[in-house]
């Protein structure tokens, strides 16, 4: 029956949709953590250079 198929479609779309969202969040957080940690290890030099433009 159509309803059976539709119900399963909705059920598994929601499930995999949620898992997909979670996976995305985890990836994003790992990146953020990695960048934050490396920033703390070696304070960035570049911004300081850019803030003081070369003269002459």
């Amino acid at each position: 029956m159509v309803y059976l198929f539709a119900a399963f479609l909705v059920l598994w779309s929601i499930t995999f949709g949620y898992l997909f969202i979670l996976g995305g969040r985890q990836r994003q957080l790992s990146q953020q953590l990695a960048s934050l940690r490396s920033q703390r290890a070696a304070p960035a030099e570049a911004p300081r250079d850019r803030a003081m433009p070369e003269e002459g």
């Binding site: 029956m1 309803y3 059976l4 399963f8 909705v10 059920l11 979670l22 996976g23 790992s30």
Partner: protein
């Protein structure tokens, strides 16, 4: 659960994936065809576990909230949040599959009978819980207030449930009065599905807990 290693988590995912695969096989190929409703009845094998896991997850969130209020350790708050979010997803699935079931058997997508109303209210409560967390900025107060709301919300569930017992209901009371309207074969498939969904819940919970922990780490690193 947060201290599990990668291997533990992968194992859990593998096991739950396998059991769900088996469950699908059982539901479509092994479970007997129901006399009056035909194949549509097979939604039952996913509707009941989804609703069951939803209630279980929200119960876990309730207990975690109580523990957080008592002990103020952030891991209980992480568990409360994670389980509430997952529980909401499963309850949504339960309500939607139940709605399809209702349409096929009673001809209506929805009716305001006690058990459905209870589920809708429970959904609203935990949707509000998640909204509340997002609306509060003060750390510490946010977790505390949300925990209290989770406790209030879950206490409301048995009260709603009692209303079912006293009111005539259209909802199939499959397990009423000690007996059941399922054949033993159907019951076995149903129980297997419930187990497989529970394992799946645990796997998703481990993922979600990891995310909650990572979010906390990011917060800490940012504001040190």
């Amino acid at each position: 659960m947060e201290r599990w290693t990668r291997t533990h988590r992968n194992l859990l995912w593998a096991v739950s994936a396998v059991t769900i695969g088996i469950a699908l096989f059982l539901v479509f190929l092994v479970a007997p065809r129901e006399a009056t409703m035909g194949d549509m009845q097979r939604v039952f094998y996913f509707h009941v576990p989804a609703a069951w896991v939803g209630y279980l997850a929200l119960f876990v969130s309730f207990v975690a909230s109580l523990l957080y209020l008592r002990r103020r350790e952030s891991r209980w708050d992480r568990l409360a949040l994670s389980s509430a979010e997952i529980g909401l997803v499963f309850i949504t699935e339960g309500i939607i599959t139940g709605s399809f079931w209702a349409k096929a058997t009673w001809g209506v997508w929805w009716t305001w009978e006690p058990r459905l109303t209870t589920s809708a209210v429970l959904w609203a409560i935990y949707a509000s819980y998640l909204t509340l967390r997002r609306a509060m900025e003060e750390q510490g107060r946010r977790e505390r207030v949300a925990a209290v709301y989770s406790v209030l919300g879950f206490v409301a569930v048995p009260i709603n449930f009692m209303a079912i017992r006293w009111w005539r209901t259209v909802h199939p009371l499959v397990f009423e009065g000690g007996g059941s309207n399922l054949t033993p074969a159907m019951l076995r498939v149903l129980i297997f599905c419930i187990v497989s969904f529970t394992l799946f819940y645990l796997a998703v919970l481990s993922l979600r807990l990891g995310i909650a922990w990572a979010e906390e780490q990011v917060e800490q690193l940012r504001y040190e």
